[in-house]
Symmetry: C2
Subunit: 334 residues, 2 copies
């Protein structure tokens, strides 16, 4: 896709649920230097933590893009937003959306963007020409986060690891595979939206050959055990050709996301199946650590759980938010 | 998709390679009752076996659809065909294409179709509203063909098995997942063309709950071991929720299709991994037979190979073309 232009004005409308503004919060948390402020409507009950400002104020301070900060159910573009989008285009801003509905399917927006020299970015929809995968060995080191389920912290863990490596002056790039990650990184590919034939090929292009001592930290999606999304996860695993895998998990979840009565797989099974299938394209692929979202329990219980897992599996187990990821990064240092 | 209207006139242009007219040949082989004839251009060196006839002759005999019988590399619509397509529409025929390029993206064809009350069918592109999979148990019996590689006879085996079961008065439906299969069946979904998030969900919709004694025979795609297409294969495996799996294989292939230096997996490994992963959505999933394309060797060698596999694996092993599939169907009879 064409490069996203910062600084961003994060549009969060009249959102009431913090989860509904994941796009905006990801950018604010991980690319604060790209985020000028947030644009709120009456009734909004959440915040990204950025300064609230009007559209005009943001433009006068140098904003380059208006970001639709939402991930609403259904992924639709609310018609109530259209006047604001028109105003943004009239002010010369690009618009960035991670919704399923496309900005580029709305003729009035397309016309306004053209006449103002602005770009409409539908970052969930791949714009690059895609190809099928090959699985040929490529230079460089790659790490992929995989999961026992969806929404278990794969993006967070990947971003935290990239930052930790960069802080250590190890060459590392975050490779985004979902809309929130793309907004943070400025580019990437929403792998769940590519045509099924191209899943692995898209990831081969996203994380191409690189310096021998460079790490691509690839954001995983879904789970090999999820009955809806395992195809995406397997294509991603094959395309990533990862040397290192980190298994992400959420403590205390009783069923897989959006599915009734489906317990999560064990960590042991998750490790075994991911390593087994990853070796189709990288015979050296190995799970090196576990990253757990322990927010369901208190600090002491979280630490006890992680220690138990470490003893059982013989590899680091941390909550990236509570404990940081330095012990995972240590495994990549050698 | 809307129902395809037979009888078909199979357009094979000036094709010279029998493999390049797979769409047309599949229809002629498996739905001869739907195929009125073939339309050839000067220089054509292949045939479907159907009677050659002109467009006007086909129309006067009752043809309802012109089928683009090709699967050219790149999947493009050759501009040399456009006058024929226009003539077909002017004569009231629908047009059916399995190419990657869409008939519906050509404004002059769309206009001609509208003014003549005809339909342009891009059968490789899903028209149904798709959803994500759930993996919930559904009634009815299902068989899925899986493979050591792409292009190893999964469609042929599935069609042959469906016919064999129907000949035995067992309730059975062929479920098409590729463009050639769709043309034969009259409907289906090209699973390699759906958005990655929807692979499993598309197959749940393609093969929905049915009578307890009804078999859906689902055409497989790709291979769990193919570095380009395994994501499609796994989503299909999960969505199919198959009770019975048939492993398809091609004898004498030195590397996986379109990939250098990648030997095919063994039958033992193919069985083990398919059963393991299929059990995510059907704990009873079991490989019941092997179907081998033995065309690379002579009759005696083919028989010797199949006998050896049977001894090793303890299940029927047949070449569906040379030996038929009755011994596979026997396994579904009980």
């Amino acid at each position: 896709m064409s490069q996203l232009k910062a600084p961003y004005l994060l549009f969060i409308g009249d959102a009431k649920d913090p989860l509904s503004i994941k796009m905006a919060r990801s950018a604010a948390d991980w690319s604060p230097e790209k985020c000028l402020g947030e644009l709120r409507l009456d009734g909004c009950e959440v915040t990204t933590g950025c300064t609230a400002m009007s559209l005009d104020e943001a433009v006068s301070r140098g904003a380059k893009s208006l970001v639709l900060g939402f991930a609403n159910s259904g992924g639709y573009i609310d018609s109530a937003w259209l006047p604001i989008l028109q105003q943004a285009l009239a002010s010369g801003l690009d618009i960035i959306s991670g919704l399923h509905d496309r900005l580029n399917d709305l003729p009035e927006l397309v016309a306004a963007a053209q006449s103002n020299g602005c770009t409409l970015h539908d970052i969930r929809h791949p714009s690059a020409k895609l190809r099928t995968g090959k699985g040929y060995h490529r230079q460089g080191k790659r790490l992929l986060t995989v999961g026992t389920d969806c929404s278990v912290g794969k993006m967070y863990t990947s971003l935290a690891l990239t930052k930790e490596l960069q802080d250590r002056h190890i060459k590392a790039s975050f490779r985004a595979t979902g809309q929130s990650g793309i907004l943070v990184a400025g580019d990437g590919i929403a792998v769940d939206c590519v045509v099924a034939d191209f899943i692995a090929g898209a990831i081969e292009d996203l994380a191409p050959a690189n310096d021998a001592d460079h790490w691509d930290i690839i954001e995983g999606q879904g789970s090999l055990f999820h009955p809806a999304f395992a195809g995406v996860s397997l294509g991603l695993l094959h395309g990533a050709q990862a040397d290192a895998l980190v298994v992400c998990h959420a403590l205390g979840r009783s069923s897989m996301r959006a599915i009734d009565d489906r317990p999560l797989p064990s960590l042991v099974e998750t490790i075994a199946v991911n390593e087994q299938l990853a070796r189709t394209t990288n015979p050296q692929a190995k799970v090196i650590a576990i990253a757990v979202n322990t927010s369901a329990v208190d600090e002491a219980a979280a630490m006890a759980y992680c220690r138990e897992v470490e003893t059982q599996l013989g590899m680091p187990c941390v909550d990236p938010i509570r404990h940081g990821v330095s012990r995972i990064a240590d495994k990549l240092n050698g």
